[in-house]
């Protein structure tokens, strides 16, 4: 099992010391996380590591996962899309079923806690039944709710308003709510299979297995094949670059199976790449963390040309590998990539092409940018900072109304 001390060579002893000092204030408190899946997705990835680390810090942390039937998860998927601004119509039957499943889960709950952190909308209504079970209830919203569908938000707000606080990833996601709202940035785990250091042999083995030759500089985008990640725009940019600089493009990711447009987008990507031997499209399974790690480490330039993005942890992962990253100027990518410093933000395929050329022609600058990007992630987006924020949140909730913690 990974221990807190394993992070010390990465973040420094001061950071570990801070965590221990903060944890002393809320030691032995009971902290319950509730979400809807134990595997897959960023929330589960972080909880898998954060829960044992919090326990090592003497916070009695447990992780509960709610159960539901396929109809419930269809509803929560639609709810997720609606909160991200999609046009979805909800019927009364859908709201009722969502509420019933929440109440059933609440009735099965046996835990008692000092703090509850409830992740995303799926379990939000459990508070109606379980409010007395914990002193402090916090709703942690991981999704982009900057322009939510009003019908769904009104429904959810009824439950969210009963919490003592909410946590969002970006200030633009915050809402008009009757309690304090906090900002906690997402994070990556530097010791996970997706982010740990790899040997040159490990990287080479993955490239051999995937049939990738390192005969030209590699431009990479890792993402699902959905329209918001603009894979066709990346191919357009690549074709513009190819007129000026030799390179190859790898588009790696899973098919967006829960997106009705997924197959159409994938077909468009294949069509756009037709006849171009230097474009490789890799359909990877969702758990291909080792492969993604190796691809990112083998790449010369990494692109995330999203046209819409919550936070963009693929950008964080690429930055952590010391790579220069070009990202669409949307969502959390804007926060992560500072032009000429930690990366480049772009607004069009032309802009993307220009920045790829810029970086391929200036390897020294690209290397420096990658180093700055890695330091930025070290300071702001690693799991240790996430744990620090959880501990701070607990202390602030305990000292209601206080804006200053002095230790």
């Amino acid at each position: 099992m990974v221990s807190l001390n394993d992070y010390e060579p990465i973040v420094g002893p001061e950071v570990i010391g801070q965590l221990q000092r903060l944890a002393e204030v809320v030691a032995r408190r009971r902290f319950v996380h509730i979400n809807s899946t134990r595997t897959g997705g960023g929330v589960a990835e972080i909880l898998n590591r954060a829960v044992p680390l919090l326990n090592q810090l003497d916070i009695k942390t447990q992780w509960e996962v709610i159960q539901g039937d396929p109809f419930f998860f269809e509803i929560t998927k639609a709810m997720h899309n609606a909160l991200q601004g999609h046009k979805v119509h909800f019927t009364e039957a859908m709201f009722n079923h969502y509420r019933e499943v929440n109440l059933e889960n609440a009735r099965l709950a046996t835990w008692e806690a000092d703090f509850v952190l409830l992740h995303d909308p799926q379990p939000a209504y459990m508070i109606e039944e379980l409010r007395p079970r914990a002193k402090h209830w916090v709703w942690r919203c991981h999704i982009d709710v900057s322009r939510p569908n009003l019908q769904v938000w009104r429904f959810l707000r009824e439950a969210v308003s009963q919490f003592d606080a909410s946590v969002f990833s970006m200030s633009q996601f915050a809402q008009n709510l009757p309690h304090p709202q906090y900002l906690i940035r997402p994070s990556i785990d530097p010791l996970s299979e997706k982010n740990r250091e790899l040997t040159p042999q490990e990287i080479k083995a993955v490239l051999n297995r995937l049939g990738i030759e390192r005969d030209k500089p590699i431009v990479l985008q890792v993402s699902r094949f959905d329209s918001f990640k603009d894979p066709v725009g990346v191919i357009q940019a690549f074709r513009m670059v190819r007129r000026h600089a030799p390179c190859k493009l790898i588009l790696a990711g899973g098919e967006a199976t829960d997106d009705p447009e997924g197959p159409r987008i994938f077909a468009e990507v294949q069509e756009a790449a037709r006849g171009e031997p230097d474009i490789q499209i890799l359909l990877l399974p969702a758990d291909a963390h080792h492969e993604v790690n190796a691809l990112q480490r083998a790449a010369d330039v990494i692109v995330q040309k999203s046209t819409r993005e919550g936070f963009g942890l693929t950008v964080t992962e690429a930055m952590w590998k010391g790579k220069p990253v070009i990202g669409g100027a949307v969502g959390g990518i804007v926060l992560q990539l500072q032009d000429y410093n930690t990366g480049f933000r772009v607004y069009s395929p032309e802009g993307c092409a220009f920045r790829i050329r810029y970086l391929l022609h200036r390897p020294g600058l690209a290397k420096r940018m990658g180093q700055l990007a890695r330091e930025s992630v070290r300071n702001h987006f690693l799991i240790t900072r996430n744990i620090r924020d959880y501990l701070t949140l607990m202390i602030l909730l305990d000292k209601q109304g206080s804006r200053l913690i002095e230790l």
Partner: protein
């Protein structure tokens, strides 16, 4: 000189580490008139966050735009003249946040008065207001004399520079910082103290402030802790 460097301080200097827990208030504005209106209404802590505490943000202000309002005027409103006015505005020229607020309101009001139109931000570029809770932790690093102090400056994080220069002004309710206060009360050294208090801290980023401070110590006391970065 060596003797002065080793002279023990009456009170050791304990460095503090500092970080913020940002708290968005769920309010946004989309044009300059809305910003003016909001600036009259928001709490002092919101004003303080966007003018001063943003030094500790993920993307701290750059030299061109030393506060969030100036950056928003430049990037979202694309109004360079307003951005210049807000960039050269220095909240540290004022004694308290009420005065700072009034000065900001005056700038925006005068600017809007002469404009034939209200500058708007594009969709997605609204200004989102925040405030923050602050966590201050006593560092394990301390200094018992000037030499240790100087060496420690190279070890502590930039968050310590922020705390001892910026937070100190509001905490001490005087336009001074913790470092010069400690040097003055323990060692005298009026010239060095005056030079530290003259550092244009609102203009520099935290790394530059540290380098400037080390440069001044080098200038006034000699090479007691190595060259600045």
């Amino acid at each position: 000189m060596k003797k002065r460097m080793d002279k023990p301080a009456k009170d050791p200097f304990w460095f503090r580490e500092c970080f913020l827990m940002p708290m968005p208030i769920g309010t946004k504005v989309v044009n300059l008139r809305e910003l003016l209106h909001a600036l009259r209404e928001v709490s002092d802590s919101v004003l303080y966050y966007h003018l001063v505490q943003s030094r500790l943000a993920v993307s701290p202000p750059t030299v061109e735009f030393p506060n969030d309002f100036a950056l928003w005027a430049a990037v979202a409103l694309q109004d360079s003249a307003l951005a210049e006015k807000l960039s050269s505005f220095d909240p540290l020229d004022y004694e308290n946040l009420s005065q700072v607020r009034q000065a900001m309101v005056d700038i925006l009001e005068e600017y809007l008065w002469d404009l034939p139109f209200v500058p708007w931000a594009r969709s997605g570029f609204e200004f989102h207001f925040c405030e923050a809770s602050t966590v201050v932790i006593r560092s394990v690093i301390s200094a018992h004399n000037l030499q240790e102090f100087c060496q420690a400056l190279n070890k502590v994080g930039l968050d310590s520079m922020y705390y001892h220069f910026f937070e100190a002004r509001w905490r001490l309710e005087k336009p001074i910082d913790d470092f010069s206060y400690w040097i003055e009360t323990n060692f005298g050294l009026p010239e060095l103290v005056a030079a530290i208090r003259d550092i244009d801290i609102y203009f520099y980023n935290l790394r530059e402030i540290r380098n400037t401070l080390l440069g001044l110590i080098h200038q006034y006391l000699g090479d007691i802790c190595g060259q600045p970065e």
